[in-house]
Amino acid sequence: MNTAQNQIFPGLHNPVLESQQIFRQLLKSMSEPGVIGNCEDNLNQPDCLQPATYAVALSLLDQDTALKLSDNLDNESVRDTLRFHNGIPLVNDWKQADFVICNEDERPDLDQLNIGNESWPDQSCTLIIQCQSFYKGIIYRASGPGIKQSRKIRCSAFNGTLIHQREKLASRFPLGIDLILTSGRDFFCIPRTTTLIAEQN
């Protein structure tokens, strides 16, 4: 009935408490962009997902949030597990997704995603990117609401293309895409209001 590739993984051990803890940290990181939160190390997640990605998905998704998985993450095991625990509807179209989970090397262009509409900018897509590391790559200086002066941020998923696409979207504010970056057990958020500028060495 269940083969090794097609199995449901256990969810949070204490769903109520743990999802609230993760949600609280996400809230902090969304309001103070760049602040790193982390999840417990007791998770047993599908192979292609990182613990933080799995924890964030279990905390945020439910039957009202359409999810799109990028190709390398889109397997029966992940689908069945998230459906089982969250009852989420999975979609195949980037534009229809309220949440997208992807690896950093297969990130969709931001303009492929739903950026919300003038009446409901909050209905935009939230992009969850699984990164290799928060200690590699170019250092960026983040500024904007929630950051006192500026904060140095480093993440392997940040590159010129992403920064350029974010700059282009900035003119459409309040429409835009919020990012959640995950790596291992750590995660942080970069909402649409944060400006990223590459640090000159």
Binding site: M1, A4, I8, P10, N14, P15, F84, H85
Partner: protein, 147 residues
Amino acid sequence: MNIQQRQDLHATLTRSSLGDIQRCWQKTPQDYDYQILRAPETGMVMAVARTENSGEPFNLGEVTVTRCALRLSGGETGIGYVTGRNEQHALHIALLDALAQIKGQSEQVFSQVIEPLKQRINDNHKKQQQETAATRVDFLTMVRGED
């Protein structure tokens, strides 16, 4: 185990008390190697009813339900749903559901646990019917002979 047998298993186990299940089943959950997928949790389920089988459906009220899901080391996934808040009851049902999916163990589960429990439910039902029948009162209408 086919779908009907599985329905039968769940219907029987959820109607039996935990005590009855433990009496029929000589083993305990500790005897097995399993992984909890969804720890026993209690929530509410809306019960929908209608009057006299033909009326419009309406929400009768919420029912307390406890559910549980687990996976045996062999990969069989079992689920358990039970009304009320007895977490051990839900866990036992989930485990028996998973065990009944193992080829070769299914017959044992049915002969040792399900059949005796089913017999017990039937006996109780019959006993109750007999007790009810003993107190039966027939109402007669006197005919006045007008026609």
